[in-house]
Symmetry: C2
Subunit: 189 residues, 2 copies
């Protein structure tokens, strides 16, 4: 069968929507076809194996959540001080809010990974690469803070994003902007 | 129909296992009956409405994850310094690891809450009460740190627990003990 990259991406984007809306059990090939508005059987031609489908969905999510290169270069033209860290973290939260489906789908994949060893290995490898790349980016750009500080920022932001996506009103009394500023100020040294 | 509290709790514990293992879509009344090894139809007598079932599962999870009172009193007999905060946080992580099902089920409920407004309201109210109680406990015991510090510790620990449950090898190079110590030391002031 002929395959085309744009259609593959459209199917993966459809999978992300279905995952976010219905959970991993709701992610069927038929639901992907319907969501992408393609003929029945299309998704099964592109993704005959579920493990491979989930791995590709994961890569697509990380692609969608990554900052746009030109925008990042623009941000990074500023002095690498703690204010710039705060700007980067606020942009991360904004990207998550602008693409809730991707992050909700990633949480679904995290849970699905506790049930599927092959997805678990793939997810761990990818997340470890990402964390290592984040640390390298931070230290390489001369931003303030040590390696441990960057890991603590990562953990605090993960907690904040999980709450912001699932119980956003919980943090309303604290203002996420203030929490991000305080987190950076206290953790980076 | 006569109901008995021990059986109700056993059914809720069964629901937690099913949620952790199969996700929210796998949580059927029939699966609860099978997991609890009770006659078919039992769960549907106790929990005719899904919204009420999910709310009760949530309360049971928070009950299971709370520290045992005598053990907590014992821990709190120490001087309320930063070492005691570290001890409390390590105990929290140990409780999560000892009852993975409860925390995985809670993550499933967080995701389910994005789809069910009534669960969302209930979960937000409960989590807000818990966070407020945590802050009150921390400040009331004279432990070091301000209100914002306690919220930042909560967010960092949430991130750490999510990773520890779903991609535990990610943090292996950093040691969770060290991360907890550094988090407390840097954030509490």
């Amino acid at each position: 069968m002929r395959q085309n990259p744009a259609r593959r991406t459209a199917l993966l984007d459809a999978a992300i929507e279905v995952l976010a809306r219905e959970g991993s059990r709701g992610l069927t090939l038929r639901a992907m076809d319907a969501e992408a508005a393609v003929p029945k059987g299309t998704a099964s031609n592109y993704f005959p194996h579920r493990a491979e489908l989930l791995a590709q969905v994961m890569r697509r999510i990380l692609e969608r959540l990554a900052p746009e290169e030109a925008a990042l270069a623009d941000t990074m033209s500023e002095k690498p001080d703690s204010a710039l860290v705060v700007t980067l973290l606020k942009q991360l939260l904004e990207r998550t809010r602008a693409d809730r489906a991707s992050h909700l789908a990633l949480l679904e994949l995290r849970l699905e990974a506790t049930r599927r060893p092959e997805l678990h290995a793939e997810l761990t490898r990818f997340m470890a690469e990402q964390l290592e790349a984040n640390i390298g980016f931070h230290l390489g750009a001369g931003l303030p803070g040590d390696r441990t500080g960057v890991v603590l920022i990562y953990l605090g932001m993960l907690g904040l994003i999980v709450d912001d996506l699932t119980v956003p009103d919980l943090l309303a009394p604290y203002s996420t902007d203030t929490l991000i500023e305080e987190l950076s100020q206290r953790v980076l040294r």
